[in-house]
């Protein structure tokens, strides 16, 4: 009944991913996705749905949108007396000046190590915010406990790895599912085992690693350490076989938006019993007028739909006026799409006011991204 694993969402990773204009003023973790979510909702909900009730988010910068989104953690049932949700950042720490010359997640974690030390869970699960899936980590934890691994890395076998997950880390496994080495997907082979940048280890081991690394200065990032540590044969791997998308570019963002319109993927990701939770906003239901014509689209609440929407994702409180044609696009919160506008292959960030009869058209593989808060 009581919990044995804490969660750590690491937003301070090496090689910060970036979705173009969408990440000018927000980290990838709080990028809106899927009509009403932010990216981090997936990892956060996966943790909660796996019975984790103590989650630390280690942020990097521009995290105002993140704290606004998460608030007390209540919408994820993480507003607790014991455990619950904590957000840490390099700036927002008591010892901010102490390690200011050191970049890397290790020093961010070190600055807030007390939080991890005073937690009581036996294990810690570390995950990023941009690996979008609906996973039951408790199965991975069971596997970890049974296997006696020092660290268990979670991966997925990808059939089309020549085209998908380009540049991601791959695991080289032996027949025991021990990790022999870690490589990169250079798009040369199919069927690779893609590392989900998610791992489980003992909390006390984790603390030891952070201390050791920051003292020795061998690595700045935890992941670098793990990749080296593989050689000692103590690291195993757990296979996940559900839907997975690594969202860290405009292309992958656009791809997952299309994937969601596949009803089977939507059911697995969003309509599952393992609910993806997000900040509740209390919008009214969406109104479809007489002239509305919607096909194969996700529509969030609070919208007014008077025009035509196909193969698109429409966020909360969007007004689509008469005569509008939207195809293959993503329109975020609070946009107003003026009468007669024609949109294809575009991604609109929040609060865009598109005046009447405008036309914007991107390519299927290179959608146009429009930054938030502007009028066109």
């Amino acid at each position: 009944m009581r919990n044995e694993c804490m969660g750590l969402i690491n937003l301070n990773k090496k090689g910060d991913p970036n979705i173009d204009k969408l990440n000018y003023s927000r980290p990838i973790a709080s990028t809106p996705i899927g009509g009403r979510y932010r990216m981090i909702d997936f990892t956060l909900s996966n943790m909660v749905n796996s019975g984790i009730t103590n989650v630390g988010i280690f942020a990097k910068e521009k995290y105002r949108s993140l704290t606004d989104h998460i608030e007390s953690g209540k919408d994820w049932d993480l507003s607790r007396k014991k455990g619950g949700l904590s957000i840490f950042s390099p700036e927002n720490t008591e010892s901010q000046n102490m390690y200011q010359y050191r970049k890397g997640d290790i020093y961010n974690i070190l600055s807030n190590i007390d939080y991890i030390k005073k937690s009581e869970e036996e294990y810690i699960l570390v995950a990023p915010s941009y690996m979008i899936c609906n996973i039951d980590y408790s199965e991975a934890l069971k596997y970890h406990k049974k296997s006696n691994n020092y660290i268990t890395m979670i991966y997925k076998n990808i059939e089309n790895s020549k085209t998908d997950f380009k540049g991601n880390l791959t695991l080289n496994l032996n027949s025991d599912n021990k990790v022999i080495n870690v490589g990169s997907n250079i798009s040369a082979f199919e069927g690779l085992d893609i590392y989900m940048e998610t791992y489980i280890m003992k909390r006390t081991d984790f603390i030891d690693v952070v201390y050791k690394l920051s003292n020795n200065g061998d690595y700045l990032y935890l992941e670098d350490f793990i990749i080296e540590e593989v050689k000692n044969n103590k690291i195993g791997a757990y296979e996940y076989d559900g839907y997975l998308k690594c969202v860290k570019s405009v292309q992958t963002y656009f791809e997952i938006s299309k994937d969601l319109l596949n009803i089977e993927i939507a059911k697995e990701l969003l309509y599952s019993d393992r609910k993806i939770r997000t900040k509740e906003k209390n919008e009214s239901p969406t109104i479809y007028t007489e002239t509305a014509d919607v096909d194969n689209s996700f529509i969030a609440s609070g919208c007014v739909i008077e025009g035509t929407v196909k193969n698109s994702i429409i966020f909360r409180k969007v007004h689509i006026e008469k005569g509008v044609n939207i195809d293959n696009s993503v329109i975020m919160q609070n946009c107003i799409i003026g009468e007669g506008a024609q949109l294809q292959n575009v991604i609109f960030d929040k609060n865009i006011n598109l005046t009447k009869r405008k036309e914007l058209k991107g390519d299927e593989n290179y959608p146009i991204v429009i930054e938030k808060n502007i009028s066109i």
Partner: protein, 385 residues
């Protein structure tokens, strides 16, 4: 902790005229408008009017109402001094008393009200759909130096005999109250919204108790008595949308009103939000080949059929080739393929199997109970059950 005015919401009744929809839950907890429950409207009115202390009086199957309201945080009513309290009947040292009427329910909770030492008490019904700023009504009450103020709304003259009618003098003071008069002298109907001076009404309760007067009901007992005693009772004229949703027909009507985009009750007005206990649901998905027109659709719906002039609540699934028209589909209803539904209200969690047909030829409203399963090909004829 002294409060100027607190609100007491009468949410007690079973609402038997709502039939199958109140088997498990009290009337104010019945689903409405896609994602709300009926009581959300008065609770939101309280919150938007700046009232921070609210009692909700109920005694019929309160579990869902209780968990819906919770600590009131969804209505911004989770307050350190004040907040929202569900008040059920309880036992004292001698006995337990069920609520015998609207006034009796308030009377039983005198201790609760006294603990806030209010000047005024606002009495509300939990089953009306409207938006109203009670702080303006209080301003009016003070301006008139009234002891009691009753909100009234003009109804069409030919419908006036269905309401409680207030006959007023030029200054707004009420000289007569007629319950469903056959020859109405005015078309000002009581909305069941009262402001009383607490001290005055408290004295009536104490008198009632001492002298066994059984002032149990506001409309039947207390208001006529106050009129007789000439305490100073005024009518506060309200203009705007207001509906009593106490019957199947009026509940259906009020749902249909919402479809008319910004003509009746604007649910999207940011200045007067209607709050509710939101369910965490994914966005709605409108599938390939689906058609949705003239409708209100809540989160979590997955629509593969044809929807026209209907209200679809959260978590509704509509299968391929199904056609839904002029209907209210309550939360979490599962509708299979090739189903036909016309002019119906489908209760929470019902299942309508493939090829089922729910329609009738005499223009009555078809009703399916909560959690009912309607089998394939079975047509429910004959309207109201």
């Amino acid at each position: 902790m002294k409060k100027e005015m607190l609100a007491m919401i009468l949410a007690g009744g079973q609402g038997s005229r709502l039939g199958v929809f109140t088997k498990r839950i009290a009337k104010p907890a019945v689903s409405f408008g896609g994602k709300y429950r009926i009581i959300d409207f008065v609770l939101s009115n309280c919150s938007n009017s700046g009232i921070d202390t609210v009692g909700v009086l109920t005694q019929y199957r309160p579990l869902i109402l209780n968990s819906h309201i919770g600590m009131g945080s969804h209505w911004d009513l989770d307050r350190i001094n004040g907040g929202v309290y569900v008040l059920q009947p309880y036992m004292n040292e001698k006995e337990g008393n069920w609520y015998e009427g609207t006034a009796h329910a308030i009377h039983q909770n005198m201790n609760f009200i006294d603990s806030y030492d209010p000047e005024y008490v606002l009495i509300l019904s939990g089953d009306h759909i409207y938006k109203m700023d009670y702080s303006k009504m209080l301003d009016y009450h003070k301006e008139k130096n009234a002891k009691a103020t009753i909100a009234v709304i003009e109804v069409p003259w030919d419908e006036a005999s269905r309401f409680g009618i207030m006959n007023t003098n030029k200054d707004g003071s009420i000289y007569e109250f007629e319950e469903k008069p056959s020859n109405p002298k005015s078309n000002l109907a009581s909305m069941g919204v009262y402001i009383f001076e607490w001290k005055m009404i408290r004295d009536y309760f104490i008198k009632s108790e001492k002298e066994n007067l059984n002032y149990d009901d506001f409309g039947k007992d207390l208001i006529p008595t106050m009129l007789q005693d000439d305490v100073g009772m005024y009518a506060y004229p309200y203009k705007g949308y207001w509906r009593d949703v106490g019957t199947i027909q009026s509940l259906w009507d009020a749902n249909m009103d919402l479809i008319k985009y910004r003509e009746t009750l604007d649910l999207q007005d940011p200045k007067w939000k209607i709050y509710t206990n939101t369910m965490a649901m994914p966005p709605q998905y409108v599938g390939k080949g689906a058609v949705v027109n003239n409708s209100l659709v809540a989160d979590g719906c997955m629509l593969l059929g044809k929807i026209e002039s209907s209200v679809l609540s959260h978590g509704v699934f509509v299968g391929e080739n199904s056609e839904i028209k002029d209907s209210v589909i309550m939360p979490n209803v599962k509708i299979g393929k090739n189903v036909v539904i016309e002019k119906a209200m489908i209760g929470e969690g019902a299942t309508i199997e493939d090829y089922a047909i729910i329609k009738n030829n005499n223009n009555e409203i078809n009703v399916v109970s909560e959690y009912e399963v309607v089998k394939s090909q079975v047509a429910l004829e004959g309207g109201l059950k």
